[in-house]
Structures are given as structure tokens and as C-alpha cells.
């Protein structure tokens, strides 16, 4: 038992998830209307030899499962296949795009966590105060406002009306790039940050109601020490929500990149969907799912380190979904 076996179990679950997801995503290729051969041929004449060559190269004549295994084997070797639209190597295309998306999402995460956590803690420490009501009120708006709508409003106010920021594009690398990414990052961070605020506030408020806090205070333990212990306990659900944060940033960046015309993975995904470039769609989906999966695994690792009880449980997963309504465990206990 202990951390090692816990890690092994999590790793097995992660692998299972990725295999299942890759299978779902690969099946999309077969559900999708349109002919891959025609796409790959492009303007070239469809001679029987050329068609046969393509069918052989992409294993199109083999049964579904064999095709899947071919594709999955390639993925394991780092070969994501070839774009059906441009015929270029997908691994290279993704490599060119991933930097921008990572930079934008990273900035957004920094904003969301850097502002969300302190605001959530402050709101919980002063439940019912004006600060609390302002913070929770804006969090509700933040959760409700989709990133692309916020992005457009920001564009209107800060780019069109005030002219402080550029309307779109990525600018030169360096400070100029940063200036171009401020609005997208803010638009992306708002929804995610609101979730972080909600989770943090709920977690800290729950800890503050615990007997050990009242007891420590009544014994005259310095508030600094009390704070350290309840914040540490509250950190577990907050860190657990990191998976949600990453998923939110990823889903949102597809839309936000489109608003700001940033040539990142999101725009590539939207374009590939428009042109039914299924291999690229598959590759991006898998990449994103792997990112989220790895984040979730890291989060579980943190939970196991911070809370020994989780390590001992057979299935140490009681994740909350703050975006999606009430948490089941809490309803009856109140």
C-alpha cells in the first residue's frame, strides 16, 4: 500500500481513459460523412492506382479494429498521422500551434488562480459582508458569461472604443505578443476564475465551521497559526478543481481564439471541423484529453500526499462538480 500502489492504480485508470477516448475519437472517423480518399487525392486525378495506393497506405481496406490498432500504434510512436486537408504531418502542425495556445491558457490560468484563490479566501473569511456579496455576485456572472461573449465585449470596449489593445493577431514575440494576448487571457480567465472563486470560498467556509477552528481560537492559538491549518485543509478541494480549470480553459480557448483570431490549437480545431479534417480533430482531441488526464492524475497525487485517508481508500475519488449544480453529499447533511 501507500503512495506507490496508489500511483500505479491512478496510472492504470489514466491509461484506460486514454485508450477509451482514443477509441471513441477514432470511431468518429467512421461516423463522419465524406470520403477520406477524395480528400487526400485533392486535385490529382483519381486513377485506380492512386486510389489503391492511398487505400493501402492508410490501411483503409482492413477491418475497423485493425485500422484503429494501426492508428493507435502510430500515436504511441509519436506519429499522429497526416492531415486530410493539407497532407502535412500532424505532429509538426500541432508543434507550430501549441505554443500560442499554451501561452494564452497559461496567462489565463495565472489570472484565474492568482485572483480567484485570494478572492475566494477573503469572501469566506467575511461571509455575508459586502466584499463577500460582491465577490460571489461577480462569480455568478463569471460562471454565466461564456468566454467568447466576454471576449467580444472586451474587444468592443478596449480595442474599438478605447483603442488600448489591438483588435486581433499575435504581434511580434516579446512584449508586443503579451499586449496582444491580454484580452484573450482575460476573457478566458473570467469563467475559470469564477469557478476557482466558488470552489475556494466553499472550501474555506466549510473549514471555518469546523470545531477544530473554534477550539483553536478559543484556546488563544494565534490567528496566523489557525489560518495555516484551515487553509491547508481547504487546499485539497481547491487543488482538486484544477482538472476542471484545465478542462474549462481548453474548451474555452477553442472559442476565445476564434474571437481574437489567434492561430492556436483552437482555431486549428475549428477549421479542421469545418473542413472535416478528421485526423487533425482526432489528434487535437487526444492531446487535450491527455493533458486533462495527466492534470487529474497529478491532482490525485497531491490529494494523496496532503490527505492520508485518500491513500487508504480503494477508490479515492470524491470530486465535486461546482459548475454543475449541487453536490450530492451535501444535500442531506445540512
Amino acid at each position: 500500500m501507500g503512495v506507490a500502489s496508489f500511483l500505479l492504480r491512478r496510472l492504470a485508470a489514466l491509461t484506460a481513459l486514454l485508450v477509451a477516448l482514443s477509441f471513441v475519437v477514432f470511431s468518429l472517423l467512421h461516423l463522419a460523412p465524406g470520403d477520406l480518399v477524395k480528400n487526400l487525392l485533392g486535385p490529382r486525378p483519381a486513377t485506380p492506382e492512386a486510389v489503391a495506393a492511398i487505400r493501402a497506405r492508410y490501411h483503409l481496406d482492413e477491418p475497423f479494429l485493425a485500422q484503429y490498432l494501426h492508428w493507435f500504434g502510430g500515436v504511441l510512436r509519436g506519429d499522429l498521422g497526416v492531415s486530410a486537408r493539407t497532407g502535412t504531418d500532424i505532429t509538426t502542425v500541432l508543434g507550430d500551434r501549441v505554443g500560442l495556445t499554451l501561452l494564452t491558457a497559461g496567462l489565463a490560468a495565472l489570472l484565474a488562480i492568482g485572483l480567484g484563490v485570494p478572492l475566494g479566501i477573503r469572501a469566506a473569511q467575511r461571509t455575508g459582508s459586502l466584499t463577500d456579496r460582491l465577490v460571489t455576485g461577480s462569480a455568478v456572472v463569471g460562471v454565466s458569461a461564456p468566454g467568447f461573449a466576454v471576449g467580444l465585449l472586451l474587444l468592443y470596449v478596449f480595442a474599438v472604443m478605447l483603442g488600448w489593445f489591438p483588435l486581433y493577431g499575435t504581434g511580434e514575440p516579446g512584449l508586443d505578443r503579451l499586449r496582444h494576448l491580454v484580452l484573450p487571457a482575460v476573457a478566458l480567465a473570467l469563467g475559470t476564475g469564477a469557478v476557482v472563486v466558488k470552489v475556494t470560498r466553499a472550501a474555506v467556509a466549510r473549514e471555518l465551521q469546523q470545531d477544530y477552528v473554534t477550539f483553536a481560537r478559543s484556546r488563544g492559538v494565534p490567528e496566523r497559526v489557525v489560518r495555516r491549518s484551515y487553509l491547508r485543509n481547504a487546499s485539497v478541494p481547491v487543488v482538486t478543481s484544477a482538472g476542471l480549470v484545465v478542462a474549462g480553459l481548453v474548451g474555452g480557448s477553442v472559442l476565445v481564439e476564434n474571437v481574437f483570431a489567434l492561430p492556436g490549437l483552437g482555431v486549428l480545431l475549428a477549421d479542421s471541423i469545418t473542413y472535416k479534417d478528421v485526423p487533425v480533430v482526432q489528434a487535437i482531441t487526444l492531446l487535450v484529453a491527455a493533458t486533462i488526464g495527466v492534470t487529474t492524475a497529478l491532482v490525485d497525487l497531491y490529494t494523496a500526499v496532503a490527505d492520508p485517508r485518500v491513500r487508504r481508500a480503494t477508490v479515492g475519488r470524491t470530486r465535486t462538480a461546482p459548475r454543475r449544480g449541487a453536490v450530492p453529499g451535501e444535500a442531506g447533511t445540512a
Binding site: 477509451a20 461516423l31 458569461a145 461564456p146 461573449a149 484529453a289 454543475r324 449544480g325 453536490v327 442531506g332
Partner: protein
């Protein structure tokens, strides 16, 4: 929990209880309820019958043009009328998504929670697996690759939303399944479906309704995101997401073309969330919502 009152006074106590509850409703929630009422009226009544009429000669005009308080879009359609007409597309779909996913949630969740055993194991693994996937991204991919119209998109969202509903209902049913009053129904030999329908579901209902309500907001945000990308709507339809993407190019000539539908999405989603949060707080305080 509620004590069962005699039938004659039940209606009156209910009314009194409702009146008492209303007095504790915060202003923001009351305003939100009014917003939702207005939205519901827009859905039911044909408020803007000429919303899709194009006036290509007029083209894009800024807000304040005579006859067009928010101007016109690139096809010369009145932005205000288009936004009012778009309420239908923005609300009907999400409501159906919330209803459909909760129907799946109640069916599979109560089955898993009440039956337990291998049924529970299968359902729970399925939920674990699907909850770990990025829902919005999958919705974009499936709606985009498989294609199809508005209702196909609704169906995709129903499937993607159901796992969290299943989990919530299962958890709630589990809490009740082993309480004495349920055990006693088993002693009486009542059939399982009857225990579920008559005894467990009524106790789970408040949680189900609240969750469903909050899901509407999430579905609204997700669906407008999909339509923003042009998925699930035909071009030229009255839809807020579509208006936003069309208005993106008109930020200089008529910013209202994208700002107004953008604010509409945020306003309605916020209203749903405020009312939903209020209901769920009530629920946690132990009142039946």
C-alpha cells in the same frame, strides 16, 4: 422533511409556506425571476415576426437609426428584433437538454443507486469515464464531425450532460435506499418500481429540480458556444451565438450587432444561475424547494 398534513388544509398551508418563502427572496433573485419570465414570454409569443426580414439595400447601420434602435446587421436585419427572436433558439434547446439529461440521470441514477450490485458498478464506471472527458470540446467535435442540425446538437449535449446528473441522483438515492422507511416498504413486499416512484423519487425531487435548473444555464452557455462556431444552426437563423460571430466583423460599423446578443446571453444565464443558486441554498437549509 414535510409532515403530511390532512388534505383539506394542505392547500392552505402550502400557500402560507409559499408566501413566507417569498418574503425571504433577495432582490437580485426577484429581478432574475422577472428576466426569466420575460424570456419565457419571448419563447412562447411571436414577438418579432419580421426579425429575419432582410434589407440588403440598407445594409449595416449603427444603433440609433430611425426604426432600428440597435441598428441593423450585415444583411440589414434589425438587431433588436433578431435578438428578441433569438430567445427561442437560446432557451428551448437548453431546457430540453436539461430535461433530457435529467431524465437519463433519474432513470440510470436511481437504478444504480437502488439496485446496487453489478448494475451500479457498470453505471458508475461509465459515469467516471465520461465525466473525465472534456464535455464542451467533445460536443464541438461530435456536432462538427457528425454534423446535423439543432436537435442533433441538443441530443449530443443530453448525452454529454447526463453523467453528472446520473452521479447526483445516484448519490441522493443511495442516501435514502437504506433508511428505515424504505426498508419497511421492502418488508411490506412492495415492488421495486413502486418504492422508487412513490417513496424515493419524491424525496429526491427537490435536488433533481434544482440541478436541472442550473443545468439550463450551463447548456445555454455551451449551446451558444456551439452556434458561435456555426454548429447546430443553419446560417441566417435567429440565434444569439450566430449573431455574435456575424457581428464580430461589424465591431466598427455597428457594435450593437454583437454587444446586444452577447449581453443577452450573459443576462439570461446569470438570471438562471442566480435563481438556481437560491433554490439550492434553500435546499441545503433543509427546506423543500
Amino acid at each position: 422533511m414535510t409532515a403530511t398534513a390532512p388534505t383539506e388544509t394542505r392547500a392552505r398551508t402550502r400557500l402560507q409556506r409559499a408566501a413566507r418563502r417569498l418574503r425571504h427572496v433577495p432582490g437580485s433573485v426577484a429581478v432574475s425571476a422577472l428576466v426569466l419570465l420575460a424570456a419565457a414570454i419571448l419563447v412562447v409569443l411571436p414577438v418579432a415576426p419580421h426579425a429575419l426580414d432582410q434589407d440588403v439595400l440598407l445594409g449595416t447601420t449603427p444603433a440609433g437609426t430611425p426604426g432600428h434602435p440597435f441598428g441593423t446587421d450585415s444583411l440589414g436585419r434589425d438587431v433588436l428584433a433578431l435578438t428578441l427572436a433569438g430567445a427561442r433558439s437560446a432557451i428551448v434547446g437548453p431546457v430540453v437538454v436539461a430535461l433530457g439529461s435529467m431524465l437519463l440521470g433519474v432513470l440510470l441514477g436511481s437504478l444504480a443507486g437502488y439496485r446496487g450490485g453489478w448494475v451500479d458498478a457498470v453505471v458508475s464506471r461509465y459515469v467516471d469515464l465520461t465525466l473525465a472527458m472534456p464535455a464542451l470540446l467533445l460536443a464541438i467535435v461530435v456536432a462538427g464531425v457528425v454534423g446535423g442540425g439543432y436537435w442533433i446538437t441538443v441530443l449530443v449535449l443530453v448525452v454529454l450532460f447526463s453523467p453528472s446528473d446520473i452521479r447526483i441522483v445516484r448519490g441522493a438515492v443511495l442516501q435514502h435506499a437504506h433508511r428505515p422507511y424504505i426498508e419497511s416498504t421492502r418488508v411490506l413486499g412492495l415492488p421495486a418500481w413502486r418504492v422508487m416512484m412513490r417513496h424515493i423519487l419524491p424525496n429526491v425531487r427537490p435536488l433533481v429540480l434544482t440541478t436541472m435548473f442550473l443545468n439550463i444555464a450551463y447548456a445555454l452557455v455551451s449551446m451558444s458556444g456551439l452556434t458561435y462556431l456555426g454548429l447546430g444552426v443553419s446560417p441566417g437563423a435567429a440565434d444569439w451565438g450566430l449573431q455574435l460571430s456575424d457581428g464580430r466583423d461589424l465591431l466598427y460599423s455597428n457594435p450593437a450587432a454583437s454587444v446586444v446578443p452577447g449581453l443577452a446571453i450573459i443576462l439570461v444565464a446569470t438570471a438562471v444561475n442566480l435563481v438556481g443558486d437560491h433554490l439550492s441554498e434553500r435546499l441545503e437549509q433543509g427546506e423543500d424547494a
